[in-house]
Symmetry: C2
Subunit: 247 residues, 2 copies
């Protein structure tokens, strides 16, 4: 709803992948000049989503993948009986929408957790271009495979970790990804509620909150609302690999 005063040419320049500062995150590296220019063609438009708005919803037709330029998303699946599960949190430079490819419509919701902007990449254009640019083809395959491997990790977490291990793994994963984007290794602002963290980790929000408090008691982190400072990364890593209770 904000008035659009940006003139088209400027917009066009800003859209180009070839001079996007997130390029090394969402595009193949080591491309030649000419291939790079072709890749610019992938991004059809950009789209802004307000906090709380949805990029796509379960059941909507699938046409495009989205590269997140700014902002933060969650994806979640739901059953008929109202239960739902956060399947992931996505940040700048990550690709969203891969779930829609199989059945030509989306099977989960993508919700913006803060005001966001995405590059819209029509999938038929991606397929077309990746037939010509080998590096793009490989890249697309790697992105999908990465998502599969990531989900393996979540399954491991949900299937066999205790609450503190889950939260520790979650925090380490978040800072690691933020660090790759130039943010601090030890400080982060959670863009999601305790309930959303809990849904992702298979825990209730109270358990998430209690586990945070335990970490604070143990001097591992400082928590003030959604602001988290990690004081002892090594301790978190130990927790993830601890497994004390079992033998």
């Amino acid at each position: 709803m904000t008035r659009e005063t940006t003139p088209p040419p400027l917009q066009a320049i800003k859209v180009a992948c070839s001079n996007c500062n997130l390029r090394e995150l969402c595009m193949p590296v080591g491309l030649e000049e000419q291939q790079l220019k072709r890749i610019d063609e992938i991004v059809a438009t950009r789209r802004k989503i307000k906090r709380g708005g949805t990029l796509f919803r379960n059941g909507e037709p699938f046409t495009s993948l989205f590269a997140i330029r700014t902002g933060f998303f969650k994806t979640c699946v739901a059953t008929e009986d109202g239960r739902d599960q956060v399947t992931g949190f996505q940040m700048a430079g990550e690709i969203i929408g891969l779930d829609g490819i199989v059945h030509d419509h989306h099977t989960c919701d993508a919700v913006a957790l803060e005001d966001a902007e995405v590059c819209v990449m029509p999938f038929d254009r991606i397929e077309e271009l990746s037939r010509e640019v080998t590096a793009l083809q490989t890249h697309v395959h790697k992105i999908m495979s990465r998502e599969i491997v990531r989900e393996h990790g979540v399954m491991l977490l949900l299937g066999s970790m205790r609450a503190d291990e889950r939260l520790a793994a979650f925090l380490l994963n978040l800072v690691q990804r933020l660090h790759a984007r130039g943010f601090s290794q030890s400080e982060l602002i959670l863009r999601m509620t305790r309930e959303e963290i809990g849904s992702y980790l298979g825990l209730k929000l109270e358990t998430v909150s209690r586990t945070f408090s335990k970490f604070v008691e143990d001097g591992i982190v400082e928590v003030k609302q959604r602001h988290v400072r990690i004081l002892d990364t090594a301790a978190l890593k130990r927790i993830v690999n601890s497994h004390q209770g079992c033998h």
Copy 2:
């Protein structure tokens, strides 16, 4: 270790995708004659794996995807501290090995739960051919997307379901896939142990066993060792969507 007496020409014929009875499960449909012949080139060799043997292991270099011709596999990931998690069970017509694409080596183990045979499809050959045959390209994308969506379902299961819901969902999923392969809708033989089921479902083997017993008491299934007969499919479906305890 069995002596190979099959002459090469016969082997070659048997390998061809174009006259494989699993074709509609693992290959794109509606191909023209010529494209079909090209696709036959994908399968380089076949490989037999004895029960208990591994198709690939975590850390091994990735070169190929595998289409299961016969047999039954599990894939599992492990942490350094010895904990492991079954991430899926795969049967004839399904594709295995997608996890290896990102980092050019595998990130999980694939173990045969019964004597098995797979078609070896070198991935560079798949990429090469899918640049030319659009239907193959689309098919590869759909297979990867399907795996992502499947894992979303597992995350939902692990994150928010109770033991009986998990087991019911598991059984329904198994028979549905077996039915698609021409087997009974109501009868199945489990190829995995209670412990492997438990690992997949995030439960201990005792809980799996008890839940089976409960289903038997309720007249929903008959269980004799690994032989399961589903007496009341509707009841299983109700259990999956029940969610009684929560509000």
